[in-house]
């Protein structure tokens, strides 16, 4: 289980970074979403990966359950990244309409001015 999740996180980050290095706006958004999800999965997994353990327990806690705190953190992080991604998409949409291009290589006028 740990190995699968680790590979999954690596996959998210790898493809995310690859997308970020492409030139189109859409791939930029995809890249940001992917590395964001990779980070969420990473934080989620630090709580420990346990399966088939009930969420509600009796008076005595079972010895091995996943730590719920990272799950709460991930919830917060997901909500934040959701908002940020929506903002990114709308900003890129506006930029694309204004600049009449969705090529990141065209976005170089503020560097040289």
């Amino acid at each position: 289980m740990e190995l699968i999740i680790s590979l999954l996180i690596a996959g998210f980050f790898g493809t995310g970074v690859y997308c970020l290095f492409q030139r189109s706006f859409i791939k930029l958004i995809a890249g940001l979403i992917l590395i964001g999800q990779g980070a969420n999965l990473l934080v989620f997994s630090v709580g420990g990966l346990m399966s088939l353990k009930p969420a509600f327990v009796g008076k005595e806690a079972p010895p091995m359950v996943a730590d719920p705190l990272p799950q709460a953190l991930v919830l917060t992080a997901i909500v934040i990244s959701f908002g940020l991604i929506i903002f990114t998409i709308s900003l890129l949409l506006k930029a694309q309409r204004e600049l009449k291009s969705d090529d990141l290589n065209q976005l170089n006028t503020t560097d040289t001015l």
Binding site: A39, L42, V46, T76
Partner: protein
């Protein structure tokens, strides 16, 4: 109620009040300014209390640390909160005088106060994940403020700023997660407590480097600074002054906090990296400044080289060096904001900050020239202005700790800083203007008041540097003995 939460609650209340008055958008600058003044009063009360009690700790919801989120006001945090409140007052006044009504209608002042809430929250929190949340609050407000004008250049700069900051946030989140996985707590005092006696403390170094990169991107350190000169110069002057003064310094604050508190036991390992980063940040920043001919660009690059100076203090990490870094940060926020305010007034009059198109400002308005002279040559480090004392203490700390290479870099960078400030002075103020260039009219007193406030603060620090330096020294002593911090937060 604990005074500690005032610097977070007041901007929030002000922002909501500004949103309430959307229909009478003319009222929002007034509300914003009143809110900022209230924030300043609250911050000074808090400072007063911290000077007596050394540390104030608040446990949200009554949950004691490390279960609940704690808020901690130590001397560094409270100094940053006070300086933020000063900048807040100045920016609100300046925005009131300068902004056109179209921007004000787009909730400009509400956004400024949301941003300030995030900044103050980041300064006061004692919890690593909470720090992440405050960073996001600050970021989302800054994204909107950055692109609110909607011009082509702003959108383009905004895209760069947004993408690099989202990547930094992701790295920050990963680091927080990994630290939790290794230490089992997110309360910074508790992490410090657990790591101090642990034999495996070196395992957090990977997270430490991730944090260094995340905060380094936000602070504009070498080699992560490229977004800053590519986006800042597109901003409206009011926003630009606010960002230049505060935002990068939040990153610096976070570095100072984490490296003196959490990674304290591992500092020797990371010190060489910090020293290289400090030197290169200084040098590259000032070279960028020397090569440009636009006031906004020159000043943006100067932010980077000044951050390098502050990093030099953090990297050397002796009591004197940290005191110098704290002093430098406080001085730098005031001076940098002021320079951008003055540039804003020039740009508003001429519609450009290009040095080649400017000239003769000294001839037309010696008072305005004097107003520029004070912060500009304070930044350059001319005695007796505040920048001289800041640089002197850092260089002295470097010599005492035998970091001669860094000291030499700082010296050379200081000369170049002076050179590029002189360039602005010679081109915009002294040069004989083109015959067609219109005459410069002194801005109204209302527009000048913010710059006058900051210039008098610079003079006050310069002539009366001892008091602030004593304060910086006691701040640095507090930072370098985190046991008291840990004890106050955890009650053990």
């Amino acid at each position: 109620m604990n005074l500690l939460y005032l610097p977070i609650i007041l901007p929030f209340v002000t922002a909501v009040a500004c949103l309430e008055f959307t229909r009478w958008s003319k009222a929002t600058p007034v509300i914003g300014t009143i809110g900022a003044v209230a924030q300043l009063i609250g911050a000074i009360y808090l400072l007063d209390e911290v000077l007596v009690k050394e540390l104030i700790v608040g446990h949200t919801g009554g949950w004691a640390a490390p279960v609940g989120i704690s808020f901690v006001a130590d001397k560094l945090a409270v100094a940053m909160v006070v300086i933020t409140a000063i900048i807040s007052v100045v920016i609100n006044l300046y925005g009131w005088a300068q902004l056109d009504s179209a921007l004000i209608k787009k909730h400009y002042f509400a956004l400024v106060h949301f941003l300030l809430m995030g900044v103050n929250g980041a300064f006061l929190t004692g919890d690593l994940f909470n720090l992440y949340v405050w960073f996001e609050v600050m970021l989302i407000a800054s994204f909107v403020l950055m692109t609110i004008g909607g011009t082509k250049a702003q959108l383009e700069g905004g895209v760069k700023y947004l993408v690099i900051n989202l990547v930094a946030s992701v790295l920050f989140l990963c680091s927080v997660g990994l630290i939790y996985g290794k230490v089992g707590t997110l309360n910074m005092a508790d992490i410090s407590y657990h790591l101090r006696d642990s034999v495996d403390a070196h395992l957090v170094n990977s997270s430490g480097i991730l944090l260094l990169i995340a905060f380094g991107i936000k602070a504009g350190l070498f080699p992560f600074f490229f977004w800053l000169p590519a986006s800042y110069h597109t901003l409206t002057p009011t926003t630009l002054a606010l960002f230049a003064g505060l935002l990068t310094k939040v990153g610096v604050y976070a570095l100072l906090r984490t490296y003196t508190l959490i990674f304290e036991s591992q500092f020797e390992l990371i010190q060489p990296i910090l020293i290289w980063i400090a030197g290169l940040t200084m040098a590259v920043g000032v070279m960028g400044a020397a090569s440009h001919y636009n006031i906004k660009k020159i000043l943006s690059f100067h932010i980077i080289s000044q951050i390098g100076y502050i990093m030099m203090g953090i990297a050397i990490a002796t009591p004197l060096a940290i005191a110098g870094a704290v002093f430098y940060t406080l001085h730098h926020i005031i001076v940098k904001t002021n320079l951008f305010l003055i540039d804003g007034m020039i740009a508003k009059h001429y519609g450009t900050s290009d040095l080649k198109k400017l000239g003769g400002l000294y001839k037309w308005s010696p008072i305005f020239a004097l107003l520029f002279f004070i912060p500009a040559f304070s930044l350059g480090g001319i005695p007796p202005l505040s920048g001289f004392w800041a640089k002197l203490s850092l260089i002295q700390a470097g010599v005492e700790a035998n970091h001669y290479f860094l000291v030499a870099t700082a010296g050379v960078v200081g000369i170049f800083t002076l050179f590029s400030m002189t360039k602005i002075w010679a081109e915009a103020f002294w040069k004989k203007p083109d015959p067609e260039t219109p005459k410069f009219k002194l801005p109204s007193l209302r527009e000048m008041t913010p710059a006058l406030i900051l210039a008098s603060l610079t003079l006050l620090i310069g002539l009366n540097g001892d008091a602030l330096f004593e304060f910086s020294k006691s701040t640095s002593n507090q930072l370098l003995s985190p046991e008291a911090y840990v004890k106050a937060v955890l009650n053990k």
